[in-house]
């Protein structure tokens, strides 16, 4: 079965309370249990927080579970009547999103959200078998407290109607189940108690571990303590706990404190303080911890002398169960679901009887044997509550009830009666396409197909991206093009009209675009006139992006290179790989270069067309803003250090929506060689690295050495989820593909009459130029007839070096620095040079070594692991930091001119792009639902 779970219960403020914990825990256990048998997908609400935490929490349980987000459509909470129209439109679209990929089962994780937040419920019951978790009906027990506000009452009653319309309710306790049968008149056959569980981390203290000092330091707890954990609304009855604590005998109070765990609203804290004063308690008798982490919560449970839970009404009672699982002696009010949870008469007190709580507390605190009994029975009882068992009950109920279910209602929207039928043939297809695109309908094709496919660039792009821009296809392409915008394409094969009408009707009911059109019609007919353009834009966007798509798009971020190609090594890689991908895209993949501009990602059509030299006028290709559905892959191919701080929040929402995030890492040099970079560059790089580590699903490094550095950096610096790290090899241009330029006569003369050493790369500290120049000076002084040529832009932190180069006595004679050489000049210098010197102290790869070798030039290189990885034994390696050592190495090499050793097989750019594409595809497929 295809099961879709609405995760909003783990997103609203509920995520800090029991509902959020429940929603996440049961989803996780359900996925673990059912993922091999069912296709499970999660739907989050992009207008709410908590997606990142939920995704990370479920990451290991749900590596192949699809996830999507809806919206965001904000300002839809029910507490403000001004939101009503917006909310109705959003709920119509949300219902459509839940059923967009035609699931068999929709599970609403919590319908009691959305009064003060932007959570949504489907406007009407989805067509799929619909399940909802029922936590409690407590507001019906105490309407004065919870439902006295008319808006709150109306909202709650509407939510109860949603529950009533569900096909199956999963109650979190028997008490809740019985309550729903009595109060809502739910058919007992349609509601199942699945209980709740306790996480394995809630366990007794390990022998020998004492939390006393930790709790003293962390919370100021300096004695034994009675503990409460949970909410602080009226039904929780915490005030009576303070009063009961005050009623304990003075000698007991003297050695115990009362510790209240959780966020206490400021007003209530004042009430607590007043009560303490009135009942003669000292300020340090009652400690308010505020919110605590799960780790601290476990420590507190393990260390407390007694856990007291005076709540008058609970749907389940997760806190006492957690306390029991940690071995805390636990007493609870004999009310609602709590006796069901503890299942121990000795652990109960009558919350309505005056003094009963204080008496029970006194007994447990003074009777060691009773405390031990409560502790051991509680532990035994807690073992019955596992999330796996809860998930198993839920799965069994869904399997049993959903089997054979047939939809009895539609998604609340009327099916479109006006969905057009287009009669298309070879003569009118190009004329009808724009109308069809704007007003989707079912296409009935009559007659023969045209001999050739569409010729407009925009149509060709739609058919297969940039690689198809200049490829003339066959007539079948018209059908492929029509299918992109039609609610079904039929060939009129001469069957009787009724048969054709039936097929058209089937499309009208089931085609995703037809279903979307029906929701559009509902919104148009009901609330659209009340919505502002911006509100409607958000609803229309959320609705449209809910439609499932089978197109695999790789969104390649070229923000920086598209703005300005700096000609750096990184930009050469970006250009080369992207060009290959655009011209020879991975199979069934649409490559879409994108740029981040004015706060949004746009298609980089102009850049892409220029890169592959496609002669397309500007603004010809469709779409400007990038729309994501969640099935895409984002590829950070370019180094986006400057734009990522601004684009990261948007990319994060993409990741939450299901977009796989993969980055290419060229090196970690600003981290490993901080002295070679400006302070700002180091900081910016650290921010960039931290961001891609938190955003990325996979980091593709350009060498094994870089991958090892990245793994090391992640393990030392990055907490939380770690991206996978892979490596691939770069390509290199074959020699002779570039026209050879003309050299300056002085340079030509010098290189013709002496051996020449060439260095290629930006002039910056780590490249080792100073050491080589020093060595060259020693050789020149020793009478060596050598020319030294540097080709590279001026970089950073090299003022002294550049001054030295510019004022050098050999400048223009035996020393040449070409800081703005074009490819032709580079080629000419390569041809004439004797040897390439690669003296860099740190590199992510070593492209110049390969490029020199491919031109038949030997290489003298520093003995870096990455050079050895890339170039094998081809170079002559030196391992010295002294100019003398290097001068001696060069002199020896020049005297012997040894033949280069063997090297690994080097790739061209097509092979390199293919390998990176394979890595990306493998990761995408391993994360896709089976």
């Amino acid at each position: 079965m295809k099961i879709r779970i609405d995760m909003q219960g783990a997103q609203t403020d509920s995520r800090h309370r029991g509902i959020g914990r429940y929603c996440l825990a049961v989803t996780r256990a359900f996925i673990e249990l059912a993922r091999d048998r069912h296709d499970i997908g999660l739907l989050f609400n992009a207008a709410l927080d908590g997606i990142g935490e939920a995704v990370d929490t479920l990451a290991d349980a749900a590596p192949r579970i699809s996830r999507r987000t809806f919206g965001p459509v904000r300002h839809v909470s029910s507490d403000n009547p001004a939101n009503d129209a917006r909310r109705k439109a959003a709920e119509l679209a949300f219902g459509h999103a839940l059923g967009a990929d035609l699931p068999d089962v929709v599970w609403l994780g919590s319908v009691v959200e959305g009064f003060t937040d932007d959570a949504l419920v489907p406007y009407a019951k989805p067509e799929a078998f619909t399940v909802a978790t029922l936590y409690d009906l407590i507001p019906l027990h105490d309407p004065t407290t919870y439902l006295s506000n008319a808006h709150a009452r109306d909202w709650y009653m509407r939510r109860l109607e949603v529950l009533k319309r569900c096909d199956l309710l999963l109650a979190i306790s028997e008490w809740v189940r019985n309550d729903a049968i009595v109060r809502l008149g739910i058919d007992p056959e349609r509601i199942v108690a699945i209980g709740a569980g306790v996480d394995a981390r809630f366990a007794p203290r390990t022998a020998g571990i004492d939390h006393t000092q930790y709790l003293l330091g962390r919370f100021g707890i300096d004695r034994r303590f009675v503990m409460y954990n949970g909410g602080f609304d009226k039904r929780k009855n915490v005030l009576s706990l303070i009063e009961a604590f005050a009623d304990l005998p003075a000698e007991l109070r003297a050695v115990h404190a009362l510790v209240l765990v959780g966020r206490v609203p400021p007003l209530l804290a004042k009430t607590f303080a007043a009560t303490m004063v009135a009942r003669g308690l000292e300020p340090d008798d009652v400690l308010l911890t505020g919110f605590v982490s799960d780790e601290d919560l476990v420590r507190l449970y393990q260390a407390c002398a007694l856990f007291a839970f005076p709540s008058e009404r609970e749907g389940f009672g997760l806190a006492p169960l957690e306390a029991m699982a940690c071995g805390a002696p636990t007493i609870v009010n004999d009310a609602t679901s709590l006796p069901e949870v503890v299942d121990d008469p000795e652990a109960l007190f009558d919350g309505h009887a005056p003094g009963a709580l204080a008496a029970r507390m006194r007994t447990v605190l003074t009777d060691r044997h009773l405390a031990d009994r409560l502790s051991s029975r509680g532990l035994a009882r807690a073992r019955h509550f596992s999330w796996r068992a809860v998930a198993a009950r839920a799965l069994s109920a869904i399997d049993e009830h959903a089997l054979g279910y047939t939809a009895t209602s539609l998604d609340g929207a009327e099916r479109p009666t006006g969905l057009p039928v287009y009669r298309v043939d070879a003569g009118n297809v190009d004329r009808l396409l724009p109308t069809l695109r704007q007003w989707p309908g079912t296409v009935v094709w009559s007659g023969p197909l045209p001999e050739t496919g569409p010729s407009l660039p925009a149509d060709r792009y739609r058919l297969g991206g940039y690689g198809r821009l200049h490829v003339q296809g066959g007539g079948n392409e018209w059908l492929a093009l029509l299918e992109q915008d039609a609610a079904g394409v039929l060939l009129d094969d001469g069957q009787a009209g009724i048969a054709l009408d039936e097929r058209v009707q089937r499309f009208r009911v089931a085609h995703p675009l037809a279903r979307q059109r029906s929701v559009e019609d509902s919104i148009a007919a009901s609330v659209a006139p009340s919505l502002t353009d911006d509100d409607l834009a958000r609803v229309a966007d959320a609705l449209d992006r809910s439609r499932p798509t089978s197109t695999r798009r790789w969104l390649v971020d070229v923000t920086h290179i598209a703005t300005r190609d700096l000609g750096t090594g990184i930009h050469r890689v970006v250009r080369s790989i992207l060009r290959e991908w655009l011209q020879h895209p991975p199979e069934h993949v649409l490559i879409e270069p994108i740029v981040f501009r004015e706060g949004r990602f746009h298609h980089a059509h102009d850049y892409a067309c220029a890169l592959i030299e496609a002669d397309i006028p500007p603004n010809t290709l469709p779409g400007d803003l990038v729309a994501i559905t969640g099935s895409e892959v984002y590829i950070g191919l370019d180094w986006t250090m400057e734009s990522l701080p601004s684009s990261a929040p948007l990319l994060r929402t993409w990741r939450w929506a299901g977009v796989q995030m993969q980055f290419v890492v060229y090196d970690l040099l600003p981290l490993t060689m901080p002295d070679a970079f400006h302070a700002h560059s180091r900081e910016a790089f650290t921010r960039w690295a931290t961001t891609i580590a938190s955003l990325g699903d996979v980091l593709h490094c350009i060498s094994r050495s870089t991958a090892a550095e990245v793994r090391g950096w992640l393990s030392e610096n990055h907490l939380g989820r770690r991206p996978e790290v892979t490596n691939f090899e770069l390509g290199a241009d074959a020699s002779g593909h570039c026209q050879i330029g003309e050299l300056d006569p002085a340079l030509e003369e010098a290189m013709s009459t002496s051996a020449s050493l060439l260095m290629v790369g930006t002039v910056e500290p780590r490249k080792g130029y100073v050491q080589v120049l020093d060595a060259m000076e020693l050789l020149w002084e020793a009478g060596a007839n050598l020319t030294f040529v540097i080709i590279g832009h001026r970089g950073w932190l090299v003022n002294d070096l550049t001054e030295r180069l510019q004022q050098h006595r050999e400048k223009g004679k035996r020393l040449f620095w070409l800081d703005n050489a074009d490819d032709g000049t580079l080629e000419a210098v390569y041809q004439k040079s004797t040897v390439l010197v690669a003296a860099s102290r740190g590199e992510g790869y070593g492209l110049p070594l390969i490029e020199a070798a491919r031109r038949g030039k030997p290489v003298i290189a520093r003995s870096l692991p990455v050079f050895q990885e890339v170039a094998g034994d081809f170079p002559s390696y030196f391992d010295t930091d002294s100019p003398e050592g290097l001068a001696s190495h060069i002199a020896r090499w020049l005297a012997a001119r040894p033949a280069p050793g063997p090297h690994p097989e080097w790739l061209n750019w097509r092979q390199s792009a293919f390998r990176l594409g394979q890595l990306i595809r493998t990761r995408v497929e391993s994360a896709a639902p089976p």
Partner: protein, 78 residues
């Protein structure tokens, strides 16, 4: 950043990009003061790449969403 200053800053950055020697001079002066360097670069980057907009609006939305928007506003197939 104030949208009032962005166009001016963009022009200034464009000017520096057109004159590398001037840009190098400015960089060589500024990098000696790391805090100032960091601050100016952050401002420059934010000027070129303003904060991400997480929501669409009626003036800026993807093409297919725009079509859905237009259909809803138009109400009926013409």
């Amino acid at each position: 950043m104030s949208s009032l200053f962005r166009p001016w800053l963009k022009k200034l950055l464009g000017l520096l990009a057109r004159y590398p020697a001037l840009k190098r001079f400015v960089v060589n002066v500024v990098y000696r003061f790391p805090a100032l360097d960091a601050g100016l670069r952050t401002v420059a980057h934010r000027t070129i790449h303003p904060e991400a907009a997480l929501d669409v609006d009626a003036t800026r939305m993807p093409e297919t969403s725009r079509r859905a928007f237009d259909r809803i506003r138009a109400r009926k197939f013409p």
